[in-house]
Each structure stands twice: as structure tokens, then as C-alpha cells.
Amino acid sequence: MTRLTLLYFASLRDAAGMATEDVDTDAADLAALYERARERHGFALPRERLRVAVDGAFAAWSDAPRAGSDVAFIPPVSGG
């Protein structure tokens, strides 16, 4: 099991009811990590509409979860 922290923003944070969540996971990659969070919190956004970042840098969904990292699921942005 890998222990790490999930970061939620915007509608994901509202749906989860929290901004961060510490989890122990055996997900093989970041994609699976999101799918589990999505089931747990009922996120409306499919993974295809998100990006993922690890420790403040964009990452690939196929990356393996790293122990102690911050994993942020980035919903479609709307700055400007």
C-alpha cells in the first residue's frame, strides 16, 4: 500500500467535501487512483476531462503513485 495525499479543487472539492485527503492505495497508476476517488465521492467529471499533477508538476495518468506525494486532480480550468 502506498500512502499519499490527494488534492481536490473547484467542483471536485465541493463534491468531496474536502480539499485534501490522505489515502492508502494499491492503485497501479494515477488513472486508477482517480477512478477510485471518483467512485468514493461521486465525481461527475470523467478522467478524460482532467489533468493530473504530482507535487506541483503535471504528470501522466500512467505514472505509478509515489509514496508521500501530493496528487492533484485538475478539472477543466476557467481563469481569465
Partner: protein, 153 residues
Amino acid sequence: MARFRLSDTPFDTATLRAGLLDARVGGYASFEGWVRDHNAGRAVAGLRYEAYPELAECEGEAILTEAVARFDILDAACVHRTGDLSIGELAVWVGVVAAHRDAAFAACRWIIDEVKARVPIWKHERYADADSAWLHPDHPPAGNSHGGEPPLS
């Protein structure tokens, strides 16, 4: 000095502009996004911008560095507000200086488009009817050719 930054308080564009000007500058193009009273046909009462600050600053800086490399410009900068904003408040400023206006206009337009598409900032609109919503527009994430979902409202 950082070319991109977030600001959780109102900021002065005259000061920012002055920071870009020097004797080589022939043209200054700027764009400002202001909070307007309507969006997509709904009366807007105000809004909040939330950012993932570490990633937003990193991605914003990357956009401005790329702009200076791609276009024949002297310098460029961008500041984006976060937090609660009222109607008529400044949300984002982009300023570009160049010897000539072609490059200044092209770079200014490119920067605001990239900031809107790539920088992790989210707009939460409060409507006059007391409803509110996060805006998650339906442009595909950068580097991803999928994304044909309807916009979340």
C-alpha cells in the same frame, strides 16, 4: 523577476506597465479581463477565482517564457486575481512590449488564450438568483485529443 503572478488583492496596471517599458519599446499591447454583469445569458452577482498556486505560477511562468521565445517581443507579464471579485473588478492583465505592433498584438492574444486554457485557476460564479456554479469549460486538456464532453454547468 517573475513574469507571471497571482494576486489575492486588487492590483495597479499602471505600475505593471511601467515595469515593462524602456527606450527600445515601440508598441505596448495589453489585455484586461473584467468581471461583467452577465455570462452565458445569466445575471452574475460576483465571482471567486480559486487557484492551485504552486502549479499555476509554474504554468503561467512557462507560458510567458514561451511567448518571449516564440514572438519578436521585448518582454511580457501577466497577473491573475484570486479570491472574491465584484462586478467591475479587474480579473486578469496581460502586457506585452515589442519594437513593432504585429508581434505585440500576436503575443498578447496568444498569452491570454494559453492562460485561459492551461493555468489551474477556476472561476466560481454567483448568480443574481442565488444559484452558483464552478465553470469547467469544455476545451480538451492540453496534450489530450479527447474531451468531447458537454460543459459542466
